[in-house]
Assembly symmetry: none
Homo-oligomer: 152 residues x 4
């Protein structure tokens, strides 16, 4: 009986604890769908990560045969784009030797600062999350990320 | 020009590097769809992770309002289920104080050994990946994981 | 000149990237103020962490002479409380040997599941963050966390 | 009764364990106040970390809307400044490719060596801690850090 009570309480708690941080799963799934189509049109196979406004993962897919090592890269790109509310590639131009943000990649458990991470904005222009794409040349990664980010 | 050549080579490499480790993304998406339906039928909000035969993440979703902390738990459950090719809850019965696998959770960057992780088999009975579910009482997590695993 | 342009753009970007995740710094500072008063009234010296709805740190103080090791514990308590939208002590009752969430502490880079972490709600009852307190017996930690959480 | 005794002993221990490492919380709060004012005067939103003489965090604030990723950077700047008792930017000039401290950023769990970290001295000139600021162009970060460090 005691265990049942805990189970019931726990189930209720998990249901009422709602507190959305920006992007919804439905939006994330739409973005992934569009990004996958773009990836296919470019003859590429991508890892795609979507994080919310709190930089926490909302959705992820690895297309069949995409690089295993690109899963973590796509997540770090998405997080990096939300951490600094800008495309990852911009940070990469500043983190080069001699640059003002040299070796910023050592922060936050590892940043990825080459292209492929893009903030996601709602129609009001507010940042509600970010997309990170990895699996091909960075030009392709960026193109797929932008296609995804513009889907909503 | 040189840069263009590299880009083309890189794009080709990423395309031909195919080596499928069991489950396909299409199968993973089907499993997630069924698992989400089960979660909704139980009035729960879940984090759902699918890993392939190499224990690498293939797909992930966090349902709106699901616990943030359950994302990592769902991934660790999926990995644990594939690492040992059994339901996570079975390992948990052996990892208790005095048990034969006491504190096995310290391995592999952190295991989760309570219910909610289930291996995924193809029709021939071969293990092609695993599902990990977290977001409610473990009985619910396990029910959703089993619903997903039986979808293919 | 180029460098100046980057600097200006960067400064603008940092200013317009606003996207609040629940609790404001002003609210966090009010909570810390009340928590500190409670800690003093109990003759204790505490580490106090406040995270937002995305489980990211908003504010922290270590009272003079408080245990060094409690800084990380207070942060992990705050994160744990937000990760699962409940008091940390509840999770601890389920993570004991034989419990349904045994060794859940191995997830999310390390959870702390004894008392002292409490979700923070706004007047509408929505969770906007969490407080984590560490530095004394857990009964005192919990009392200080509750005092803080009820300050807004 | 036994539990009560432990609680009392624990509470006493936590109170008498005092051993100040340089900066006090009151000084840290004063520094943060001045740094925030400087940040506002520069139209920036900053993450500000204060560490003590033991390089342990004493106080932290993230101004509303400041970059999420700058929290960890501000902490690493403060730690780096105290680890080597100099402004972080100085280390960054030595950690470049070919430099005498090339890639020193790999040590200590990750250093940040661009400007924004400054040691804090008392009136006798003794280093009692450090401040780390992140959230804008490094010139602004450094200006805010210096304003803070000179507040006491």
């Amino acid at each position: 009986m005691k265990k049942t009570v805990v189970l019931v309480l726990f189930t209720i708690c998990s249901y009422v604890g709602f507190s959305q941080n920006g992007i919804s799963l439905k939006q994330a799934e739409k973005i992934i769908e569009v990004a996958k189509e773009k990836a296919i049109s470019l003859n590429t196979k991508m890892n795609i990560s979507i994080v919310d406004a709190g930089a926490n993962l909302v959705a992820f897919v690895r297309m069949d045969g995409a690089w295993l090592g690109s899963a973590d890269i796509s997540l770090k790109k998405a997080k990096t784009a939300r951490y600094f509310d800008m495309n990852t590639g911009i940070i990469g131009t500043l983190s080069q030797p001699g640059g003002s943000l040299y070796n910023i990649e050592h922060s936050n458990g590892g940043l990825i600062t080459f292209p492929g991470g893009v903030p996601i904005k709602n129609k009001a222009g507010e940042i509600i999350g970010a997309i990170g794409v990895s699996g091909s040349a960075v030009e392709n990664d960026q193109a797929v990320a932008e296609a995804g980010a513009s889907a909503i």
